[in-house]
């Protein structure tokens, strides 16, 4: 690691006052410390914000608010989450390991960086790590890379599981900026596609911090599932993952939500498939049709064509699991 100054803030405004472009906030540290060891992140100072932000799940008038400092395992065990948004808990438990989930914060989970192996290897070109150096993955080992939404500049995928569930549930991100102003960013607008600026993962304003994640009340608590495919049974990043949720009236689908990890630079919503399912009967034939719609326009790279049939299978499986089939 490059030497850095360290301080701790016990309040958000205090932390924000210290923030500038060479300062980084540290919460759980599970990604940042790793990146600093690799000399991918080289902040000149760190501000520990683990005591500066809310760490509770609270009921609000519209739904719930997950405090930025909620540790992932605490969120997954939270009574409100389990009662109202169990999909969030399922997604969290499919990611990382118990130890990492005990450390990692909710906000940090949103801000974690890609696991593209070239991004992590500072001896190889990577536009996300070093803009303009080139993308090694697009014509290289891109088995784990994107099949949608990528650019010539970057084919990395977002590694989070939690974010897939949050995308499916139309969460929003509450942000505090340096001037003390609060703004709310819709989850779909929070993460970015790489375009020509792959170094930017998200739309968090400069020198701002995430205060909370909000989820509006929804009717998906009963029928939901998270399916994750990976190269081993646990403790691995997704090849593909699917968060599925159904609002049913009898056997009719009132509304469906489908999102995936391992597909793109941001959690990917399958809006056309969701639209197809709306009003349909919840049965295997319709699930298969929806999965086929989802995979229709995907564009695999040289080594990840398998993601197309895998996504199809994972979407079908997740939808069936929503019904306990």
């Amino acid at each position: 690691m490059r030497p850095f100054l360290f301080s701790k803030s016990s309040a958000a405004n205090q932390a924000l006052a210290k923030k500038n472009h060479s300062t980084q906030f540290i919460a759980g540290g599970t990604n940042l410390v790793d990146l600093m060891k690799k000399h991918i992140a080289n902040p000149e100072s760190l501000v520990d914000i683990s005591s500066a932000l809310p760490n509770k799940v609270e009921n609000t008038t519209k739904g719930i608010s997950i405090g930025a400092m909620m540790r992932n395992s605490a969120t997954a065990n939270d009574a409100i989450i389990l009662a109202k948004f169990p999909l969030v808990a399922k997604a969290i438990l499919a990611g990382a390991s118990p130890q990492i989930r005990n450390m990692a914060s909710a906000a940090g989970n949103l801000l974690q960086r890609t696991r593209c192996p070239y991004f992590y290897d500072v001896t190889t070109p990577c536009n996300k790590r070093q803009p303009g150096s080139g993308c090694s993955a697009i014509n290289g080992e891109n088995r784990m890379s994107a099949v949608a939404g990528y650019s010539e500049q970057c084919v990395a995928v977002h590694p989070s599981d939690l974010c897939v569930a949050l995308a499916a549930l139309d969460a929003s991100v509450v942000v505090n900026d340096k001037d003390g102003k609060t703004q709310t960013i819709a989850f779909q607008d929070f993460h970015r596609l790489p375009g020509n600026t792959p170094q930017k993962d998200n739309n968090l304003p400069a020198n701002a911090l995430i205060r909370a994640i909000e989820i509006a009340a929804n009717p998906f608590a009963k029928n939901n599932a998270y399916v994750k495919l990976r190269d081993r049974d646990s403790y691995a990043f997704a090849l593909v993952s699917v968060a599925a949720a159904l609002h049913l009236n009898g056997d009719k689908i009132v509304e469906a939500r489908l999102a995936s990890g391992g597909v793109a630079h941001k959690p990917w919503r399958w809006l056309a498939a969701e639209k197809y399912l709306k009003g349909k009967t919840a049965n295997i034939a319709n699930f298969e049709a929806a999965a086929n719609i989802a995979i229709k326009d995907l564009k695999p790279l040289s080594h990840n064509g398998f993601k197309i049939p895998m996504l199809k299978g994972a979407i079908e499986t997740a939808l069936k699991q929503c019904l306990d089939l």
């Binding site: 000399h39 192996p117 001896t123 190269d231 049974d233 090849l239 895998m310 299978g313 499986t317």
Partner: protein, 738 residues
């Protein structure tokens, strides 16, 4: 008492490892964990290119880092006498002449070493070092490079391979296995301290302290005894510690350079190119049988990757000449040089790779013949003699392994045709395969120190990399002496102790067991010698007639003639009684062939929608001769099966030909099984002693646990789905697209 007596209960449920408390409390010290006064830290800097010449190394920025003691490169290194010129480098056989060349052979090859007061300083400074190179062409893609290398005969052809064309049924197919990396949990590490100009002390991670001692004695041209190597706790090896690797030399050079003790621990990414790996392999098999299932012959061709600076031949076709009778056999091999570091032996070297192809082909043939794969194997096993050298087996119970395994897994429930058992999106199947390994034994020494109270310490230089050498030595010493286990301490892994071979190739216990038996005999004779001074009945007593207990010596006669140790010690004014003895293979090697073997069975489910494979059951039955420590032996077998799951389903070192680099060389990119990948592995042993191999009748188990496991899994995937997958690892994508 004796090993072959039925009363000897080696399966004692309270069998606890001698080093158990040290391991569960964290008190046991691994190489990098010793407290040494004045210790500083060395960190290696790797080349960023895969082939070429170093033109310039810029260390200016690194030198500004606080706490930097020195930076070693090929330009300023302390010269190692054994690497002084090209001829000596060749003779040293170290592989990479670290810091003694400006040539780059693979990416990551150390070009500089930072030595600093703290690890943080050294690591940061290392990140600031840059170099300029003159690049040359590099190739790291095995699949692309293998076509350029022709095959040559590997061993003598048997019969006439053309006869294969007359077989009723044949299978002809190619098999590809990606490179695998040992990745023991402990990263290789060394602490080096020069006690004097010609006296060196090393705390080192390796599988054989004497081999380390000899290597560095030669490189520095100093007497072997001037080098002390301590490797009391070794955090896994799997073959990676059988060679002495350049980083250990680098650490010693660093200590010389800064005249202080230095610690060097490889990083996990460095572990992928510093201490060997199982090379990628290509194989082609043509196998034929008559309609009754009798094998007509086999043609086995194999290639494995190696480095451009050393030739490493895996011996992939050796196992082809071990398990079955093939009247007609032809084996060919080649090595494929790549700009990667040199591969090395990894658990079940060669055989593991070769066996996957053979056992997959036999399974495929069984479907063509409409014959049960168990029956097909039973019909062709070479149970009478070693099929290649013709010597009779001392013992070979591979058939019993198969029978027992089939019964344990419920083989009769397997459907002969594939894709017959469906559970929703899942297809369920059974598979099996066998493996064998030439069982060896080396020369080894052991010492015993006895105290007045009858407590003994049994010692050897051999390391225990986790196999249970310590507890097995204790069991053997207990059985041979009759002294309670609580009074038997074991000391291992120190070059000051009686010399022993490296622990590897399933030879560890086979070698050291005999030495412990010999040392006990020496102890008995020495005690009897003193006893004879008090009681002439002890004169000329043979070891077999002498009995020891916790309190004293006696004779195997009606009148026991008991004399307490206390009396012997007082009478002879003894302090600590010391004996040392050696033991090794002998004439039996001219009379018999020796092998360990195992049969692996599994039941698994494959998700047709997602490609996920989930193992439900795994049964492994081994013939390892007499089982000396049942828990440790079973642990070896189940652990090897887990390794086999990794080989079958996930382990793969990826490379990028364009960049001449490894890809994903960490535990996020290279997957081996976590707890939930493995079912509870069911282990059983034939547990019949081999009366000729060594005094305790035990044959090594480390290799056979993994040889054949991958094929059993691939065969079960076929049984479940009808997909014959011949390329490892069988990741979900291959299942889906297969």
């Amino acid at each position: 008492m004796g090993f072959f007596d039925e009363t000897f209960d080696l399966m004692a449920p309270n069998d606890r490892r001698v080093e158990g408390v040290a391991k569960v409390t964290g008190a046991g010290k691994y190489a990098a964990e010793y407290k040494v006064d004045g210790l500083c830290h060395a960190v290696l800097v790797g080349s960023t290119i895969a082939a070429g010449t170093i033109k310039n190394i810029n260390v200016d920025n690194a030198k500004q880092v606080s706490g930097i003691l020195d930076i070693v490169t090929h330009l300023n290194k302390p010269l190692v006498p054994g690497l002084a010129d090209e001829a000596k480098i060749k003779e040293a056989r170290l592989g990479l002449a670290i810091f003694h060349t400006d040539k780059i052979f693979f990416k990551g090859q150390p070009i500089a070493m930072v030595i600093a007061e703290t690890l943080e300083d050294a690591t940061y400074a290392a990140s600031l070092i840059t170099a300029e190179y003159e690049k040359t062409d590099a190739h790291v893609d095995f699949d692309a490079a293998l076509k350029k290398v022709p095959l040559t005969p590997a061993g003598k052809e048997r019969g006439n391979i053309e006869t294969l064309n007359k077989a009723t049924q044949t299978v002809e197919a190619e098999y590809n296995i990606k490179a695998e990396v040992h990745n023991p949990m402990e990263m290789h590490a060394t602490i080096a301290e020069w006690k004097a100009d010609d006296k060196l002390k090393l705390f080192d991670k390796n599988q054989g302290v004497n081999s380390v001692q000899r290597t560095f004695a030669k490189l520095f041209n100093i007497p072997t005894d001037n080098i002390e190597v301590i490797s009391e706790f070794v955090g896994g090896g799997f073959g990676s510690g059988l060679r002495v690797w350049p980083h250990a030399l680098a650490c010693i050079m660093a200590a010389k350079q800064v005249k202080r003790p230095v610690k060097l621990m490889l990083t996990r990414p460095q572990m992928f190119y510093s201490v060997g790996y199982r090379p990628a392999a290509w194989q082609k098999i043509k196998l034929g049988a008559n309609s009754d299932g009798k094998f007509v012959g086999i043609h086995h061709q194999a290639k494995n990757g190696t480095s451009v600076y050393e030739n490493f031949n895996e011996g992939i076709t050796r196992v082809t000449r071990l398990i079955y009778h093939f009247d007609n056999l032809k084996t060919e091999a080649a090595t494929v040089p790549l700009n990667l570091s040199t591969p090395t032996w990894m658990r079940g070297p060669g055989d593991c790779t070769g066996d996957f192809a053979i056992e997959s082909a036999i399974d495929e043939l069984s479907y063509k013949l409409n014959m049960d794969p168990v029956a097909l194997r039973m019909k062709n096993l070479a149970l009478d003699k070693h099929p290649d050298n013709g010597m009779p087996w001392s013992t070979n119970y591979i058939n019993e392994c198969i029978e027992k395994g089939a019964q344990m897994i419920g083989w009769k429930d397997r459907k002969p045709a594939h894709s017959q058992t469906i559970d929703g999106d899942w297809s369920i199947g059974y598979g099996m395969a066998v493996g064998a390994w030439n069982a060896g034994r080396g020369n080894a020494s052991a010492g015993i120190q006895m105290q007045k109270d009858g407590a003994i310490i049994v010692q050897t230089a051999m390391t225990d990399i986790g196999t249970g050498t310590g507890v097995s030595m204790q069991n053997i010493a207990h059985e041979q002496t009759g002294i309670s286990k609580s009074k038997i301490n074991i000391e291992l892994g120190n070059s000051n102790l009686p010399p022993a071979p490296s622990q590897g190739g399933s030879n560890g216990l086979s070698s050291i067991g005999g030495a412990v038996v010999a040392a006990v005999s020496a102890l008995k004779l020495k005690l009897a010698g003193y006893a004879a001074g008090q009681n002439e009945a002890y004169q000329n007593a043979a070891p077999a007639d002498i009995l020891l207990s916790d309190s004293g010596i006696s004779l195997k006669t009606p009148n026991e003639q008991f004399i307490s140790y206390a009396a012997l010690w007082e009478k002879n004014n003894l302090d600590v009684l010391e004996v040392e003895a050696s033991s090794g293979p002998g004439a039996e090697r001219q009379k018999y062939a020796f092998c360990s073997s195992a049969a692996h069975f599994c039941k698994l489910r494959v998700n047709r929608k997602t490609g996920k494979v989930k193992l439900e059951r795994m049964v492994t039955v081994a013939d390892g001769g007499k089982i000396i420590s049942e828990k440790a032996a079973a642990n070896q077998m189940s652990g090897a099966a887990v390794g086999g799951i990794g080989m079958a389903l996930m382990e793969e070192q990826q490379t990028d030909e364009r960049l001449g680099t490894l890809v994903g060389n960490d535990f996020a990119g290279y997957h081996f099984p976590v707890n939930s990948d493995a079912p509870i592995i069911e282990v059983a042993f034939v547990n019949k002693p081999d009366p000729n191999i060594n005094p305790q009748g035990s044959k090594g188990l480390g290799e056979v646990g993994i040889i054949g496991t991958a094929a059993a899994i691939a065969n079960a995937i076929y049984n479940a789905t009808g997909k014959r997958l011949r390329d490892l690892p069988i990741t979900p994508d291959k299942v889906l697209l297969g």
